[in-house]
């Protein structure tokens, strides 16, 4: 009985995620796309977007909602990339340089964002979104009128005969930034899976020896890795990934994934530090946190600064892998916040709670919809444009839904009797 009740509760709590799993499966079937195509696109989009989505977790835990101001982090990254291209630093060094420029810029911008958001507590979601819009104006001012005029740039990144930076910046060719991280080490899909499963098995055994895992957990983990590794023997499944029945060979950019996993580890480790405890305390209740001697504003400031820098690095990872190796100077950052925010909410996160797994699952689900929506719509309604609009609707709709659910929960909590009135100003 208890189990069934638990399941019902779970279903209610993660209704959005289950709904999206259902829609994803439905869309994948309806779109009639080749599985090889879907999987390769999905993997590509996962390694592009996961980092940015993971950058949202800390502010959520610190009670600042979805930090749509990560667009500003993305702008910092684009400034870094522009300067890197301008100075002609190529390859992985170039990526490191761009990341190095992003760090101080991201910290500075994050500091400013944090200062603003501390003045609008309870309105951070909308506040950070409008901050993003505002910063977009400043960004255009910088790229159109300051770069190339006041700050001199090379001819190859400015518009000839007009002011400002070119509309598209090229990461391919001489600049050598395209796939500079992805391309370092790319393994075939199943090789990567085997390494991962081996690592999981080894980790489980170690944990078992250290007596952190019980027998049941060890057996589950070992058999899981065995089963996944052995999927290779089924030719149909193998064909999806190695392209032996047409399609492309799916490879895994190992370094990118190592970086993403490092961020996951960082996210969970930081929660165990003193700072992480502060994030949590502030996120749960600012009044109580303040009373127990935590500097609430400072803690929130740090959370946003970390998130902004991470978002910037995420944007660099995104750019180096994106499309055909060019980026739209004036538009590449615009949808970053929207898509990342929608993705993490799809994964089951809420305005005040998020984990690494939710971020990764959310990215996976959200992008599986993204890939299939157009074809699904054209098969269902005979019109692919509807799929495009449906995608946009999903992005906004899932955010609206999450906000409504959260506010509803808050309103119920605030009903007479549960109310926390006369909150101490911090």
């Amino acid at each position: 009985m208890a189990d069934r009740k638990g399941f019902a509760e779970n279903l209610k709590k993660y209704a959005v995620t289950y709904l999206f799993i259902a829609i994803s499966v439905f869309f994948i079937i309806v779109s009639k796309l080749d599985m090889n195509y879907v999987c390769s696109q999905l993997l590509l989009r996962l390694n592009r977007n996961a980092f940015i989505v993971l950058a949202l977790i800390i502010p959520i835990v610190a009670g600042m909602g979805i930090n749509f101001a990560i667009t500003i982090g993305a702008m910092a990254a684009q400034i870094g990339l522009l300067l890197t291209i301008n100075w002609g630093v190529t390859g992985f060094t170039g990526i490191l340089l761009a990341a190095g420029i992003t760090l101080p810029l991201g910290l500075l911008f994050g500091f400013l964002i944090g200062k603003m958001l501390n003045k609008m507590k309870g309105q951070e979601t909308i506040g950070s979104m409008i901050l993003g819009y505002f910063a977009n104006g400043a960004y255009q001012l910088l790229f159109l009128f300051i770069f190339g005029n006041i700050i001199p740039l090379n001819k190859n990144v400015t518009i000839v005969g007009a002011t400002g930076v070119q509309n598209t910046l090229n990461l391919t060719g001489d600049t050598g930034l395209y796939k500079a991280v992805d391309g370092i080490l790319a393994l075939p899909f199943f090789t990567a899976v085997w390494i991962l499963c081996g690592a999981l098995a080894a980790w489980s055994v170690i944990q078992f020896i250290r007596k952190k895992y019980n027998q049941k957990k060890l057996i589950v983990n070992l058999s899981l890795s065995a089963v996944i590794s052995l999927l290779y023997v089924f030719p149909d499944i193998r064909a999806v990934f190695d392209g032996s029945k047409g399609g492309r060979v799916i490879t895994v950019p190992v370094i990118t994934w190592v970086i993403i996993l490092m961020l996951c580890v960082f996210n969970s480790l930081i929660m165990k530090t003193k700072l992480g405890q502060k994030f949590r305390a502030v996120g749960q209740n600012r009044t109580v946190a303040n009373a127990s001697g935590i500097n609430v504003n400072r803690t929130r400031l740090i959370a946003i600064m970390i998130s902004t820098v991470l978002a910037g690095w995420g944007q660099i990872l995104f750019m180096q892998s994106e499309g055909i190796g060019t980026f739209q100077t004036y538009a590449a950052h615009e949808q970053v916040g929207l898509y990342a925010g929608a993705a993490i909410l799809v994964g089951g996160a809420s305005i005040d709670r998020a984990t690494n797994w939710q971020a990764l699952l959310g990215t996976f689900l959200f992008h599986s919809l993204f890939i299939t929506a157009q074809n699904a719509a054209s098969n269902l309604f005979g019109d692919s444009v509807i799929g495009e609009y449906f995608r946009a609707f999903l992005s906004y709709g899932v955010i609206a839904l999450a906000l409504v659910l959260y506010a509803w929960k808050g309103a119920q909590k605030r009903k007479p009797g549960n109310e926390l009135k006369g909150a101490v100003k911090n």
Binding site: M120, K121, G122, G137, S395, G410, A411
Partner: protein, 693 residues
Amino acid sequence: MTKNSAGKTSLSRRILSIVLFTVAAVLLIVSIGGYIIQGTAGTKAQLNTMRTRAVLHAASGGLVDQIAEAANASALKEIRKDPNFRSMGTNEIQRRKDEVVAKARAEAEALYAVPENVDNDTIEQKISVLEEALLERDEIMSREKEAYASVFTSVTERVSGWVAITEGKTPDEIWNAMTAACPELGSHAELKEGMISMAGQMAQKEAEDAAKEEAETGTDDASAEISEDSMSSAAEVDYTWFVASGALNTASEKAEEKYADLWAELCNVIPDLATLDDKTCESVRTDIQSIIASADESFNIRYKAYVSEKADEILKPEDAGKLRVVSNAENFLLLGIAVLLLALLYTFWKPVTRKMGVPRSIILLFFIYLLLTAQFYKININLMLGDILERVGMYGVLALAMLPGIQCGIGLNMGMTIGCISGLFAIVVSLQYNMTGAPALIFSLVLGILVAIPLGWAYSLLLNRMKGNEMTISTYVGFSFVSLMCIGWMALPFNNPKIIWMLAGHGLRVTHGLLGSFAHVLDRFLSFKIFGVTVPSGTVLFFLVCCLLIWIFSRSKLGIRMTAVGSNPRFAEASGINVDSMRTLGTVLSTVLAAIGIVIYSQSFGYAQLYNAPRQLGFIAASAILIGGATTKKASVGHVLIGVFLFEGVLCMGQQVANAAIAGGGLSEVMRIMISNGIILYALTQSGGDSRG
């Protein structure tokens, strides 16, 4: 705050404001000094020397161009001789080519460097003769063109139905019909031939347009949204049928003659000029004439034109420096005014901001600055005021829609896009049934209101359940509704071929021109012309009447109860007011006003735009009312009136000034984004900073 620290801050404030005033004074003095120096005879002489030099440089530049051109043509042949040619990429080839050309150009420039010991006086004298001739010609030409433009616009405005006028008529009949419609034309007999051929072309165009409308209105390239900035009040004048008068011809001939004189003299100085081919000759002539014809332009423009021909090389270094400073006198003046205003704001920061709030003070200051700058760039203030008035009428009701939302306590109603979509739906229905004119407008208004009421009601039920978070939720609910309706516009069963995609056969187009429907119906109602500006009285009156009605409502018992809920919900509840129903009333009212607003907006704009176009309207309306001095908790009709005028005024002037100051544009858009979002941010920091500790 202790007395001591207060004294300190005021001291540092005082020092900073003195510094600011000093900087402003220095800038203003430099600029005035610059203007005085600009007027002195010595500077004028120097400028004339520069001009001579510039002319010489332009002439020798022709030779250099010719050589570079030749090098460019033969470069490829040279590169082909390279044994590695086949392995070269296009980039490599281009790079080599550029190298060869650059080398040839450098050599030619060294060869044809303007000689130092030229008999400047003869050339200068010839130049001033030519200048006179050119100025005379230009004056006559601009006078005649102006006259032509006025005739042209009045003909295109008054004559309609070109097909009917021209079909099967003799030229004389056409001419008579045109002069009958437009008596002004009668006094311009010289235009007869041109006007008749123009009538033919217009008729052809009209027929083509009609055919297009008939057969295939919606090709897919109509999907682009139209920007308001591209809206221009004056129609383009086509100078194809311009006929030069005898006087103009004589003047032109005279100018030609003088140019030939000058050219002969130049050939004396630089003998190789005789070897120029015709094409280069022609381009050199345009260059030289434009250098000389800039004589009546401002000092700065002349100076820049000469410097771009490297004429500053002839000056002594200290003179060159002086002239560079002097030529920037106008920039110093503008900067000086800006710093002065800033200093004033800083010095009187407290009294000013206490009364108006920080952003409004800044924007008011910016408004004043733009007004001054507009004077400076010779922007026609009357026309600009007309533009501002038009935009006030256009956006007024939309901004008014924010008011009931704030008054009833839901804050900035970003979900007013729901109302906008109701209004757009009504407009599209009116188009579906081919309605035109005032009935279409009235029908759209009524249907828009009818659709907005239930939607607004449903929306208010949602908002009543989540008090305290309305702005965030309304924004995203609004966005979601816009996206949902994107699918709706595609799927709704509209089938009038004029409004759907022709190729797909279903789905509404993005942009619908309302010229055939109710565009400007209200604008033209009671409209009159004053100081050359057409006042869109109907629209402005409509806006004012709406404001009046809302004002009367807020004075009524119901309105006072609603406002009480907004300003203090607990107190209102304690005194027996039903908070939820008052909030519902405000939300529905806001949604209805948004529906009315978008219909008025579309009739002013001349287009109805669907899909993603209404998404940002909530932000525009919110910024307008906030600039007017409203907060997220308190607002009045006065805030709407002031806000719309200030916001649209700053945007409109900013756009024109920015376009005048920096070519290429884009600055006005940046300004719009930053002002509009900045003011909303400010309001948010005021509202949410301290309450939820």
